[in-house]
């Protein structure tokens, strides 16, 4: 399969075509399922076939060029796919999680009409195609194709229930927010072309790595521009507003796109272009800061949310913040490791929430849930496993990846990376508090939905049932993965030998060593230098205790007989703060007031004032009016009196004589 990587993305594309056709012909659901899920399944098999093939042969990076896509003057872009360790990791979890979610959505979407069902799977397949192109793309523009492709699919899928204004609006909001990010990304691509002459990873990254000083300035600029794209796609601080609204889409969509795959594209891009960020330290710093801030900020909002999917959305933003923090401190492998583990447990959380909502017949408000533990045991247990993972409790996947990032952040602080040691300490501290809050709101969610009595309506109550096997099976698989997922990246600390940290070791080739010159040390300082063993153990204990503290506080707040008193008291004491957090710091309203309204007013001004009044009114119709006016004035010369004319003739003759003379 190695020789023809193009088959992998092609299969979902075929699935998309088939589903469109089936939708048009209004075919039965079973046909659509075969086409939709089948194609993704085949793609997964093809992907793993390729991975196995890749792992057997020694070569680091294999690039397959098919045809020159765009070539004009100095700008040439080939349609080429490449496979290297990073692609392998990404492809692995994207296809696997994607397939599980496809299986899950068979059950979840069963209630829809045939055409809608077909349309849903068509979009999902198109999404898989775009994601695979993004991951496999061997140059920035090709990656951009996938980048915008996934943006389009998220637009289509979020706006799936297009009847509802809110869904359609949030679909549009998602696409536009992505689009703003993408513009930054595209500018980055142009800069790469301008500076390096080509945007193929196998070409411009080695050039940059070869002479870091020369490209330092430009690298920072490119890094920042690309990062703007990343913030758009991975919902970081300025452009995260679309993710919470994206929950309007069906839950499998949220699981697949807004938890596992698309949102991680930003991190993938940063890791892919790690050379750029390493030789342009300022960019790396910005990534770290934005990551850290987003983590703490999103976590703070998640605490007060009552909608189950909104809580998970903000938790995703917060976890993404972690990943960027990891990348920001140079721990690219750790970032990817967290991406993988996060994919597992966040997908599980979403799917679990999906089955809960499915059970509560579409109701998403946690306040009307409760006591589902008894009714939906499998969902509960898998959900609990994922929650433990995300909170960072020891054996679960989350602990290892999050701790790795926090450890590296602390190490960066210690080694005074780029002279900003104090900043990294702050970031580490933010990380720790975010971890505490994460543990708190996750268990808040668990207690509110699964523990206590059912607070919903009566007819909802007896409608409660466990989801069918198509939905619970993926939950169980993901449950297992979120438990054992952590072990692929066990730190050297615990096992004594670095090689066991599979992911670290595996991703080394991606981090190309930099050339000579001072930049080299910076890089070296980050990856090798780690504090003494003692400090690392201390860090491990601190993060573990923080997580446990978070859980206990959540229990005291929401579990047991006098649940809900403490939060109520908290609300009375700080009503303003609560209202602020509940309404997401009014960010949406601020954006609306500051950006969108003035834009409309200015646009209307442009149209009404400039176009119709100034250009049309004054200049175009103005000249017409002037000609008419002069016509009027000249009219008075025609007196109609013959003798006047005779007189003027005579005067003309006189004048003529005088002149000629």
């Amino acid at each position: 399969m190695l020789g023809s990587l193009w088959i992998i993305p092609l299969l979902p594309l075929i699935g998309f075509g088939l589903n469109l056709f089936l939708g048009w012909r209004k075919a039965r659901k079973s046909l659509v399922t075969i086409a939709g899920v089948g194609s993704v399944g085949l793609a997964t098999i093809a992907a793993y076939w390729a991975i196995i093939g890749y792992l057997e042969q020694p070569a680091r990076v294999i690039v397959e060029r098919y045809f020159t896509w765009i070539s004009a003057g100095k700008i040439t872009v080939d349609a080429a796919f490449q496979i290297d360790p990073l692609t392998v990791v990404m492809m692995a979890f994207v296809t696997f999680v994607g397939f599980l979610i496809h299986v899950y959505s068979i059950g979840y979407m069963h209630g829809e009409s045939d055409t809608a069902y077909a349309r849903f799977f068509a979009y999902m397949n198109l999404f898989m195609f775009s994601m695979l192109v993004l991951v496999l793309g061997s140059s920035l523009p090709l990656m951009f194709v996938g980048w915008e492709g996934v943006g389009l699919c998220s637009y289509l899928l979020i706006g799936f229930y297009f009847e509802d204004t809110y869904c359609a609006m949030s679909g549009k909001k998602a696409f536009i927010a992505n689009r703003i990010g993408d513009v930054g990304f595209v500018l980055g691509i142009f800069a790469t072309f301008a500076v390096f002459g080509s945007a193929d990873f196998t070409r411009f990254l080695p050039i940059a790595a070869a002479h870091p000083q020369q490209y330092a300035g430009w690298a920072t600029a490119i890094g920042l521009l690309l990062f703007v794209g990343a913030t758009g796609k991975s919902a970081q601080i300025p452009l995260y507003v679309w993710l919470p609204d994206a929950m309007a889409g069906p839950t499998p969509v949220s699981a697949l796109i807004h938890a596992a795959t698309m949102v991680t594209a930003g991190v993938y891009m940063v890791v892919r272009c790690n050379v750029i960020y390493r030789i342009g330290p300022a960019a790396l710093l910005v990534v770290a800061i934005v990551g850290g801030l987003t983590a703490i900020y999103a976590a703070s909002i998640a605490v007060a949310q009552n909608d189950i999917k909104k809580v998970l959305a903000y938790s995703t933003i917060s976890q993404l913040g972690y990943m960027f923090l990891g990348a920001g401190v140079g721990a690219f492998a750790a970032a990817i490791f967290h991406v993988v583990t996060h994919a597992f447990f966040k997908a599980l959380l979403f799917l679990g929430a999906g089955s809960v909502i499915h059970a509560c017949s579409g109701n998403q408000d946690m306040r009307t849930m409760g006591g589902l533990r008894k009714v939906m045991p499998t969902t509960y247990w898998t959900f609990l496993a994922a929650t433990l993972a995300i909170s960072g409790i020891f054996p679960f996947a989350g602990f290892f990846s999050k701790d790795e990032i926090l450890g590296r952040t602390f190490a960066a602080g210690a080694s005074n990376l780029h002279g900003f040691g104090w900043l990294y300490y702050i970031l580490w501290f933010l990380g720790i508090t975010a971890a505490f809050i994460t543990a708190f709101y996750m268990f808040r969610l668990v207690y509110m939905t699964f523990h206590g009595e059912f607070r919903g309506t009566e007819e909802e109550k007896h409608h409660l049932h466990e989801s069918p096997w198509t939905m619970t099976l993926p939950l169980q698989v993901l449950g297992v993965l979120s438990i054992i997922g952590g072990f692929i990246g066990i730190p050297k600390l615990m096992t004594g030998h670095a090689s066991w940290n599979l992911i670290e070791h595996f991703l080394d080739p991606v981090v190309i060593p930099l050339g000579t010159g001072h930049a080299a040390e910076i890089a070296a300082g980050v990856s090798e230098h780690s504090a003494g063993a003692g400090i690392e153990w201390l860090l491990l204990l601190v993060s573990l205790s923080i997580a446990v503290a978070g859980i206990l506080v959540a229990r005291s707040f929401y579990a047991g007989e006098h649940a809900f008193e403490k939060p109520a008291r908290f609300v009375e004491r700080y009503p303003l703060l609560y209202k602020l957090i509940l309404n997401k710091y009014y960010i949406d309203e601020v954006y609306d007031k500051v950006v969108i309204q003035p834009l409309y007013r200015f646009a209307r001004f442009c149209w009404k004032a400039i176009d119709t009044i100034i250009i049309d009114g004054v200049i175009v119709n103005g000249t017409a009016f002037m000609t008419e006016l002069t016509g009027d004035i000249l009219r008075f010369l025609q007196t109609g009196n013959v003798r006047n004319y005779a007189l003027s003739v005579a005067m003309g003759v006189l004048l003529l004589i005088v002149i000629l003379w």
Partner: protein, 114 residues
């Protein structure tokens, strides 16, 4: 054969034609009645004929243009013919005008106004 010289200096004839022209012009510009204007016009026309005659007369003397001496007179002949035609049509017009407005006071015919 040398042309017989006539002792009238040609300039005087031109002066006469100029004076007649002025009189005609004044007549045309100042009169209100169509026919009077027309009469003055004929006078102006004749002053022009006179000017032609004076130049024909003047150059008849010079040998160079002797051959064309007659042209002046023929030209006047044609002018008279045309003037006759013009008078006929003009007067017919005045009659038609009179029939319409019971007057041929030129100022009354100003429909061509804006």
């Amino acid at each position: 054969m040398n042309p017989t010289m006539i002792p009238i200096p040609s300039a005087w004839i031109l002066y006469l034609s100029a004076v007649l022209f002025v009189i005609g012009a004044i007549g045309v510009l100042l009169r209100r009645n169509g026919i009077s204007i027309f009469l003055a016009l004929e006078l102006m026309l004749n002053s022009a004929n006179l000017a032609f005659a004076s130049f024909a007369f003047r150059f008849a003397g010079a040998s160079a243009t002797a051959a064309h001496a007659l042209n002046g007179q023929i030209f006047i002949f044609f002018i008279i013919a045309v003037a006759a035609a013009e008078a006929a049509v003009g007067l017919a017009l005045f009659i038609a005008m009179y029939r319409r407005k019971e007057t041929i006071d030129v100022d009354r015919f100003n429909i061509l106004r804006w």
